[in-house]
């Protein structure tokens, strides 16, 4: 019987080549199954491979299941987590909380990164994205969102994606940072303490300590309204004693 079991185990390890529809999990230091609480803990050097996603974590994975153990609905991972999905999403962070059913992902820790179709998000705090609703939020130092035509930096970046022909585009944005928000497009470099973007109206609004730089032109004020289609903008000052300042530099080749 002993040899039978050894052979069985040996072959089972061989047989554990994943087929379509199956999820394969391997760990170095075992699994704790909590049937009453409906979750299991996977310990050290965890690898999860499924049709929908692949996950690697160095330390710990807490996987919640619904009815049977196979019905995993949420995965919380710790320690150099790398999560890739078949929808083109990649999440890297110290801690990743992935809700499979709701397609909600939260990444915590230094150097957190989330890349999804044409958009890259970085933060030393938290990145939250819901793939179903398109809502996202970046909070913490070095929070940064880069898409094909815009680069946004701020302590809080809150917004919503829309998916147009498999490409995620930013539909709306709210950005704030007491030290200053920065928004860069191909032609404009914008600074403020707060910014709001609305794709529907193609308008970026900047609030407080506003500075807009285009080519050699620099305008400073308290409020700016920028049309992203024709890149025309209006800068105003809230206080009567404060004036809008425009700095023009001569181009070097002129």
């Amino acid at each position: 019987m002993k040899y039978f079991l050894l052979v069985l185990v040996f072959y089972s390890f061989q047989i554990f080549a994943r087929e379509a529809g199956q999820t394969e999990i391997t760990t170095d230091e075992g699994i704790e199954v909590f049937k009453k609480e409906k979750y299991y803990l996977l310990k050290k050097n965890i690898k999860i491979n499924s049709d929908e996603f692949n996950l690697k974590a160095d330390e710990l994975v807490k996987a919640f299941f619904n009815e049977g153990l196979y019905d995993v609905i949420q995965i919380i991972s710790e320690g150099n987590v790398v999560l890739t999905s078949n929808k083109g999403m990649k999440a890297i962070g110290e801690r990743v909380n992935f809700n499979i059913k709701d397609e909600n992902i939260i990444i915590n820790g230094k150097d957190s990164i989330l890349t999804t179709n044409q958009v890259e998000m970085k933060s030393d705090g938290t990145i939250k994205v819901n793939n179903l609703t398109g809502l996202f939020a970046l909070k913490g130092p070095k929070s940064n969102l880069i898409s094909e035509d815009i680069n946004i930096t701020g302590n809080l970046i809150d917004g919503k994606f829309i998916n147009i022909e498999d490409v995620n585009e930013v539909e709306s944005l709210y950005v704030e940072d007491n030290a200053g928000v920065n928004i860069k497009t191909d032609t404009l470099d914008m600074y403020a303490l707060k910014a709001i973007y609305d794709k529907k109206n193609n308008i970026i609004e900047l609030f407080d300590k506003v500075k807009v730089i285009r080519d050699k032109e620099s305008i400073v004020g308290d409020y700016a309204r920028i049309n992203t289609l024709d890149e025309s903008y209006k800068v105003t000052s809230n206080k009567s004693d404060k004036k809008v300042r425009v700095l023009l530099k001569e181009k070097e080749d002129e």
Binding site: R18, I25, G30, E32, F34, K35, K36, L69, Y70, D71
Partner: protein, 149 residues
């Protein structure tokens, strides 16, 4: 001299050898029988305490039956179950070759390769621990899980 009083020496020696032979055969036969009975006695005293031990773990939600081919008492409550050890409930089955079972605490521990099977789930590990009356199962060492829907 009377003819009948004459002893046939050859016949006497032959008779003597015959008796000796029978005696030797009788001794050998007796010795063989003794060895056989000793072996039988040894066979009746195997190296385990319980043959086909069966136990049950009861918790709020399920009844887990514990079966093995052999069992040895480590102490009053601890039993070393060996050979074809099964933990089985309506929801899962664990197969191992050596498990220490605690009758009083209703816990089990194994450091040998183990296989867990449940609906759509297979877990192979380098041992396991069953605690809190089977509500928590810990799989030790390098572990592999296959989930199928």
């Amino acid at each position: 001299m009377n003819k009948f009083l004459n002893i046939n020496k050859k016949a006497l020696i032959l008779l003597l050898f015959l008796f000796c032979g029978i005696f030797a055969i009788a001794i050998l036969f007796q010795k063989f029988n003794f060895q056989k009975s000793t072996n039988e006695i040894i066979d009746l005293n195997p190296s385990f305490d319980i043959l086909n031990p069966t136990f049950t773990i009861n918790n709020d939600k399920e009844k887990i039956s514990v079966k093995a081919k052999q069992g040895n008492f480590i102490d009053k409550n601890l039993i070393l179950l060996t050979n074809d050890v099964h933990f089985e409930s309506d929801k899962f089955k664990i197969l191992s070759d050596e498990v220490t079972f605690d009758r009083e605490k209703q816990t089990a521990k194994s450091n040998k390769n183990s296989k867990f099977e449940s609906n759509g789930t297979e877990i192979i590990s380098q041992g396991f621990r069953l605690i809190e009356q089977g509500d928590i199962i810990l799989f030790n060492g390098k572990t592999s899980v296959l989930l199928s829907q």
